[in-house]
Symmetry: C2
Subunit: 366 residues, 2 copies
């Protein structure tokens, strides 16, 4: 802690983010470039960086901006994209990912960022940070470009678990509300429950039951429940938060990414078609750049693990420096707002002994 | 039958399509404009048009191209978008939709096209046409713009049923293969099973069981099974046919449509931003038009109901004349290839007494 503590006197209110330097597709140089970018933009961030000490020291030394703002924690091993989560739990104690999560566990950092293997990161986070009391299944929430004024919707779960019953879905709604309030400054977010139609009689039994449960919590937890929404509403402006199970959410997320990338490729092809269209492309450059910036997945990089004692931000495995920097910004905003504690309070205040609370009518709907 | 039979002598090989003129958002004038467009392009199509006789006679009389090529079947009632399917089954005998489906049932037409209420059309089709022997759940298949050489992938089920077990998924694979062969002329289509990861151990139990079942049928039914695919592969080139349950498929379809439409809107906005960008847009017009044409949902209009004794094409409720004409073209291609009979043969040859066939190992996977 020596380096950081000394510097702490200078930049008093520095917020510490724990960063896993390894496991991303582009290696630690990209991660260091990303934290350097964040450090430049924001003087209030400090970093604990986890990975092989010698390698990281060299990378950090090259960036003058990072002098005195990074503490390196030596971790010799790396979790690869192919490692099975259970295997990492058994023999991953010396990995940078384990070390990065443990900095949150130990209270040295409020939020952890990693570009590594999602499954392993999730399992490590659950085991090391533990679930919040009352939370059955944690969730991964992402930001989705949308036609809403804030430019993004929150969708969860996008893949922490492939199942979710009505109580899980209700908790996703509460966690999403807390995220929207602290991460996007929406006072009274609108929650929609993803289904194949908007009529109340439609869909699977657990969705009808969840509809009832979420509806009951809306006033108390200060959000608007807009009821069932459809796939087309994920990038739309009917709701700010889209609640769904991790199977459906993961398919929807990847379908949206795939569709956007297909259109991008076709657009590039279209502009390459003739000399005339190449000339048009030159003129259209700034317009297209504006569009690209608006829907650039790197700029909304960061799936957030919710429902744990501490917050973990999962950056895309293929993140470049811009992507890593975006994930760190998100981690900083959440850390600054005291998100982890607020979320815990929110869940605790609305979930009383969930196992025993069977007196309501929703079980009949099944 | 008078008009059509007389004309039949002139255009000998005319293929008859049964068309529901009512129930679309834009009314019968748009449907008549659509069939007129198809009639112009293709001299081999004849139509049986269902709806209120007086209204339709006036609309058809205005189009000289349609003279002698349309037989009108009087049906006074209309199925609206708000009608519940069960209600249509009870009291919908005089609707244009019922009449349109019954023309396939009676063998007067091989394929039926409707822009009406999907749920009602599905229930009517199942009850009036009946399921093929061995098919438990019929499916709706759609074409999805993709980076494959043929420009499209087939995805099913996108909403006929919200559930599907491993046997249903296996039958979707077989039906999709038959569709790809007859509708897209792919000799040996590649089938992918939609999941949240590509590793064999991932996903829900029924998906693992379906993986085994589909894999077993691949050689016999002459297709390639590429295993699990993810949401990003729906518009990709890893598979030609994406198999999934109707809940997931419906969400994916609407998410893709919503994402494409968001990007379209943002693109329009970007080009309106400044005089310079408006000028660029003018120059880029043909390039953008080429792109729009490539992903225009109207040009791939038509969800196909599979697994019944006869084929039903569901056109978008909001279809304009171009959309209706695209759905009719698809109906024509399928009718000409004898698709309904070939699909029935395919299912019959590979599904022997499905209820009794429990001797294989796939049950152990559950």
């Amino acid at each position: 802690m020596s380096v950081l503590s000394e510097e702490q006197n200078a930049g008093e209110k520095r917020t510490i983010i724990s960063v896993d330097a390894m496991g991303g597709d582009r290696g630690p140089a990209t991660v260091v470039a990303g934290i350097s970018r964040s450090a430049k933009k924001n003087p209030d961030i400090g970093f604990i960086l986890h990975g092989p000490k010698d390698e990281l020291e060299k990378l950090v030394a090259r960036r003058k901006l990072l002098a005195g703002r990074v503490e390196i924690r030596d971790a010799a091993d790396v979790v690869t994209m192919d490692d099975k989560p259970s295997q990492v739990m058994r023999s991953g104690k010396n990995t940078s990912m384990w070390s990065a999560v443990d900095s949150v566990r130990n209270g040295e950092a409020d939020v952890c960022v990693s570009c590594g293997n999602t499954g392993a990161l999730m399992m490590l986070s659950v085991v090391r940070l533990r679930k919040l009391p009352g939370v059955n299944r944690p969730a991964i929430a992402i930001l989705w470009p949308s036609s809403n004024p804030q430019g993004f919707n929150i969708m969860l779960d996008v893949g922490a678990d492939i199942r979710a019953d009505e109580r899980d879905l209700m908790q996703y709604a509460l966690m999403g509300v807390s995220y929207a309030r602290n991460g996007m400054e929406l006072d009274r977010p609108r929650v929609g429950l993803l289904n194949v139609g908007t009529e109340e009689h439609k869909g699977r039994a657990e969705l009808k039951a969840a509809h009832e449960l979420i509806s009951e919590k809306a006033d108390e937890a200060n959000f608007d429940f807009v009821g069932f929404v459809e796939g087309g509403d994920i990038p739309g402006n009917k709701a700010d938060i889209i609640v769904t199970d991790g199977f459906t959410g993961n398919v929807a997320l990847k379908t949206g990414e795939g569709t956007a990338s297909l259109i991008g490729n076709l657009l590039r092809e279209a502009f390459k078609f003739s000399p005339m269209s190449r000339f048009a492309a030159l003129l259209a450059y700034t317009s297209l750049r504006r569009l690209t910036k608006r829907i650039d997945p790197r700029r909304v990089n960061g799936g957030v693990f919710l429902g744990l004692n501490g917050t973990v931000v999962k950056s895309h495995g293929s993140s470049d420096a811009t992507g890593v920097s975006a994930a760190i910004k998100l981690a900083f905003v959440l850390a600054q707002s005291g998100f982890s504690k607020k979320l815990a309070a929110r869940v605790a205040s609305t979930v009383q002994l969930p196992q025993d609370d069977v007196g309501t009518g929703e079980k009949n709907g099944k």
